[in-house]
């Protein structure tokens, strides 16, 4: 594939990724605004912790995240990721269980979480692709 074509597709993918992330943010805010109930914003706290391993390790040697030899900090950030994934599912569920928000807000929250998850996974995959293609 021609080099210019490849760069064009690459930036197209990045743009799509940005749209995905902003879509997730919109869903999150809609979940609050439509029902005039700002409690679901608590999940934003979890979303801040979620991309931490990416922020810390994506710039540096990303193989260290996917390979076996992880030092303690890599393990700790993975731990935080796992906990925040559960937390972003748990907070809306607890709010629904306590009767603070309704079913509509709950589904919006969960779909916003799914959108973010897809975006992050795609970003990781794109990054590992880049490593192999930039060798040429």
């Amino acid at each position: 594939m021609a080099r210019s074509m490849r760069t064009c597709l690459h930036s197209g993918r990045l743009a799509l990724l940005a749209i995905l992330v902003s879509g997730g943010i919109v869903l999150q805010i809609l979940a609050c605004a439509l029902y005039n109930n700002w409690w679901p914003m608590l999940t934003v706290l979890m979303y801040l912790i979620l991309p931490m391993p990416l922020i810390f390790f994506l710039g540096s040697n990303s193989p260290s995240m996917m390979s076996n030899d992880g030092d303690t900090w890599v393990s700790f950030t993975k731990f935080l990721t796992g906990a925040s994934i559960v937390g972003s599912i748990a907070i809306p569920s607890i709010l629904k269980h306590a009767g603070v928000i309704g079913w509509g807000a709950l589904t919006m929250e969960l779909s916003s979480f799914l959108v973010f998850g897809v975006a992050i996974l795609w970003l990781i995959q794109m990054n590992s692709e880049d490593e192999y293609s930039s060798a040429f």
Binding site: N68, S75, F79, G82, A83, I85, G87, H97
Partner: protein, 134 residues
Amino acid sequence: MDTTSFPAVWAVVGPGVAGAVFGVGWWFWVDAVVCSAAAVPFLHYLPGLFASFAALMFNCVKREDANYNYYSPYDDSEWRLKLWLFVSYVVSFVSLAGAVGFLVQDALTDTGPSAWTGVAGVLQSVFVLIRGLF
């Protein structure tokens, strides 16, 4: 990412799974406290806190290969490691017993059912944490 063998995959996602189960444990507890009709006294928080502390203790031990030392000059330091592990096990089982005790006691009044899911979850998180960081 090496997806061929299970130990390799586990080494990569293990800490994430440990974090997830730890989160599940604590969020069940939060749900129990939020949705309970009566106020939950601080005493009931203790089993969960101690279980998490035991998990932390357990994870301070870096590698299990520190146990298997074929060089006999290190004989005298082995017992410290084993004592540490033993104490962390004891603390986790005692907090489990405490949680069961609170459940039985509270079944008589009001804050019973959900309180158990919380602390049991935290205890499970201890065990996953045990496997998780190794």
